[in-house]
Amino acid sequence: MTIRSQLLKGILDGCVLAVIEKETVYGYELSRKLQEVGLADVSEGTIYPVLLRLQKNKLIIGKMIPSESGPNRKYYSLTESGKNALNIISEEWNQLSVPINALLLKGEDSNESK
């Protein structure tokens, strides 16, 4: 596993919650939106285990909408505890990202100077 995909794995739940918070989406749409924002490394299939886990933890709910001719799509939306979880993840991320940026961007500078 590459370092990037390891890092992503930890924060992917938060990313998925953030996309779903903006609007209800179905699986294919969700994977496209993640790639649009630049998370091209998320292989499309990885969202389904994540979606199942978030459903099991009652952070999102999915509704299967049947259709006669077109595709059956399961649309996901956040629950109240999903919104709370997203807020907590965002806060944690903010608290982590500032010091980590400071540390690792400096590291980049020193590498350049070698």
Binding site: Y26, G27, Y28, S31, S43, E44, G45, Y48, P49, L51, L52, R53, Q55, K56, G62, M64, P66, P71, N72, R73, K74
Partner: protein, 230 residues
């Protein structure tokens, strides 16, 4: 949407897949469906999502490998680890329905056998309660075990390229024959004892038919589709 409807639509929609994608997806599907302890509703929903995703991806020129990765078994295990177990209440209903169905067939077959033998000779229609219960319990046990064994066989061979289908059929056939033999031997050796009653074929047929009707109604009301896994 109920699981049985999802299964039916899944069968139709798989036709849209290319040969390569169909093979990849079907293996995934068989592997997940043969895990009987998982919630059938949730399994079928995620299988339908993945199928729709694959069909949509196919339009954009992607293959199943591009979407779900190069390790289908590992991916399926990840899905399985996140699927909730079947609810106990549903499991009880499921096995209740199968039990009633089996007893129904048992009684119907009994009446037919008595009727056929009765054409040429006098038949003793006395039924001993305890031996009958033992026999029915034995049949139920063997059927449950048989379903588990056969599903485990299918489950294990889902991603095995070298699966010998003939060997699988022979194994399943041997199990069936063995089970049948056990029942015949048991019914031969279990002595008639305990309380008994007169149980003519007409009554047997009537009760059997009622039980089959009940099990059919139960099946219709369940979200389950207890028929073949694919």
């Amino acid at each position: 949407m109920r699981a049985s409807e999802l299964i039916e639509q899944n069968n139709q929609k798989r036709e849209f897949l290319t040969e390569e994608n169909e093979k990849y997806y079907s293996n995934l599907m068989i592997y997940i469906r043969t895990r009987l302890s998982l919630s059938e509703q949730q399994s079928e929903e995620v299988l339908m999502e993945m199928l729709e995703h694959l069909i949509e991806g196919q339009h954009d020129g992607k293959t199943a490998r591009d979407i779900f990765g190069n390790d289908p078994k590992g991916y399926a295990d990840e899905i399985i680890s996140q699927l909730p177990p079947e609810e106990k209440r549903d499991l009880v209903k499921f096995f209740g329905q199968i039990t009633i169905n089996l007893i129904g067939w048992f009684l119907v077959m009994r009446s037919i056998v008595i009727l056929l033998i009765g054409l040429t000779q006098e038949v003793d229609t006395t039924e001993y309660i305890l031996p009958s219960i033992i026999l029915v319990a034995l049949i139920l046990l063997l059927v449950t075990l048989g379903v588990k064994v056969i599903f485990a066989l299918i489950n294990r061979s889902a991603f095995d390229e070298n699966t010998n289908e003939k060997m699988q059929m022979i194994k399943a056939g041997l199990y069936g024959a063995g089970g049948f033999l056990v029942i015949i031997v048991a019914s031969y050796f279990i002595k008639d004892f305990g309380p008994s009653f007169e149980f003519p074929w007409t009554v047997s047929l009537g009760i059997g038919a009622i039980l089959l009707l009940i099990s059919w109604l139960m099946k219709k009301s369940l979200s389950y589709n207890p028929s073949a896994p694919y």
